[in-house]
Symmetry: C2
Subunit: 322 residues, 2 copies
């Protein structure tokens, strides 16, 4: 079926919201961005979302009924089948929120609600690094770790219609405490937060690093980005910290591939900017430690589309539902 | 398409081989069993397999060309798409063996080669505990830990065409050494071997248990079965050992569900005979520790078909290929 109507998509995170118009070939025609101001609570944030939508439609001379659909990627645990935000740790007050119904009531077009990483996975599969492949996984490394899974060319949502929560896979029983209530989740060992926390902890315990000069002695200002900067300059301490994160990310990927054998793992999110310094040791570890048959064709690559992955992927999801 | 021809299936393990005739409704019409005598090497074992097949066909007055297919479940890492036994730790010498071509050359019927746990997963899905569901996983607990995954009603083989290797998911970085070269794989923490090894280790270190009397002081004779027996009689030591295995199995299941959200987890294999003493704490842990949305409809149950699961499942795989 051909349809030349665009999809209005959104990427709604804890700090900013981006609204976009996406054409049927996955091109982002126009976008609008504003801060989420999440602390104002769901009602106010949703009003802000509506005004962004209205503004973008208006600017492009499009009426809601001329849209193919609206499709929103949200940072949280989403019940996509029922269009409900189950929980969103970075959006205070968003719990068991029937967002799909709300938006539908206002705009009267088909509405889809996705986890933002699921949307990004579909975007990278359809238009980015995983184009043309059958089975891929996206792992997004940022403050936390999320991801999405595309199997047989379709977003796999599982039986509960919720996201692929690879950040909460336990790889170190009795490891660091995680916000989810478990210990040793991948997120506590290989996320941006884990990298900066580990660097701070070890410096506090007396290890030496050029990082201490970089933050002028304020250990609390050490971030994953600064660890990356110092590592690029050859700081042995920072290189060790990144090697630790690579080790855990490698284990996480081996576990993933042992369960669900994909052709490609795409690494996205802000921490992926560390690039090969982080990813080369992961590739080596997977090669050395996983079953050869499972990984002989596996490619581990960086995401290509950045912010656009979620916006275009949410649209792809809507197009897939036709 | 209807077809009333049976499938000849086999379950080929390190100790015994079972050959069966399976009707299109999944009923096992007849079977033949003999020891594998794996140490004789692949050629001799394959000749023994042929004589079992010939005997069963003869006894039932069936010619090979009257079969719909032959479909074999094998204990090992299998490249199902190409019909190759990649590696089979319990079948010495079976490496990169083009078994499908060999059997096809002799019998001239379609031949399928599956991992035995994959076959069992499909059997439990089609005719057993998971009947009628969309997404299920089977975890087989025995000497090792294996399993299979059925997604959208079909056996999921992943991009390499190999099995779901959940036993080699790392859940305890730096944990016990595994035969696969990694440390802290689920198999080293919750298999029958792990249960008996942990019991032996702790008794050697001086902990007390009625197990010591049960084996008349010969610690090396402690098996998972004996730990189960002692636990049923209330032995606090054996109950602690089982609680440990439940803890790790629970983590493994939480990880599995976090990655690939199934409706049901089916526990099979000899260790599953421990029953609710092992599985009830797993259910509780999953309820307490996994994301509620992901597990609110999840059922964790015991396998129903025993040995028949692999035999009937291998046939179901053949029927699915038509």
């Amino acid at each position: 079926m051909t349809n030349s109507n665009p999809v209005l998509t959104a990427d709604l995170g804890g700090t900013k919201m981006v609204i976009a118009l996406v054409s049927p070939d996955g091109k982002i025609v126009d976008r609008h961005r504003q801060p989420t101001l999440a602390k104002d609570g769901p009602e106010t944030v949703i009003q802000r979302l509506y005004s962004s939508i209205d503004l973008l439609l208006d600017k492009n001379n499009i009426l809601p009924r001329q849209l193919d659909a609206m499709s929103l990627g949200i940072a949280g645990i989403i019940d996509t089948r029922n269009g409900i935000v189950d929980k969103a740790p970075n959006l205070p007050g968003w719990e068991n929120l029937k967002l799909k119904d709300k938006i539908y009531d206002r705009y009267d077009v088909p509405v889809y609600i996705l986890n933002e990483s699921d949307a990004a996975a579909l975007g990278e599969h359809r238009y980015g690094a995983g184009k043309g492949l059958k089975n891929i996984a996206l792992i997004t490394l940022g403050t936390g770790i999320g991801g999405g899974l595309v199997l047989d060319g379709k977003l796999f949502l599982g039986s509960s219609g919720s996201a692929f929560e690879i950040g909460h896979m336990v790889i170190k029983d009795n490891g660091p405490e995680c916000g989810c209530g478990k210990n040793g989740c991948l997120e506590t060992l290989a996320s941006g937060t884990a990298i900066s926390r580990e660097a701070r902890r070890r410096i506090t315990e007396g290890e030496t690093s050029m990082l201490l000069d970089m933050v002028k002695g304020s250990i609390e200002n050490i971030t994953a980005e600064k660890v990356h900067e110092a590592a690029k300059q050859g700081d042995p301490f920072s290189l060790r910290i990144l090697a630790g994160a690579s080790h855990y990310l490698g284990l996480g990927i081996i576990n993933l591939v042992s369960i669900i054998n994909t052709e490609m793992i795409i690494i996205g999110g802000s921490v992926a900017r560390i690039g090969n310094l982080l990813i080369d040791p992961v590739r080596q570890m997977v090669k050395d430690k996983a079953f050869p048959l499972m990984v002989k064709k596996l490619k581990i690559v960086r995401a290509r589309l950045g912010e656009d992955a979620g916006l275009a992927g949410a649209a792809a999801y809507a197009f897939d539902q036709r």
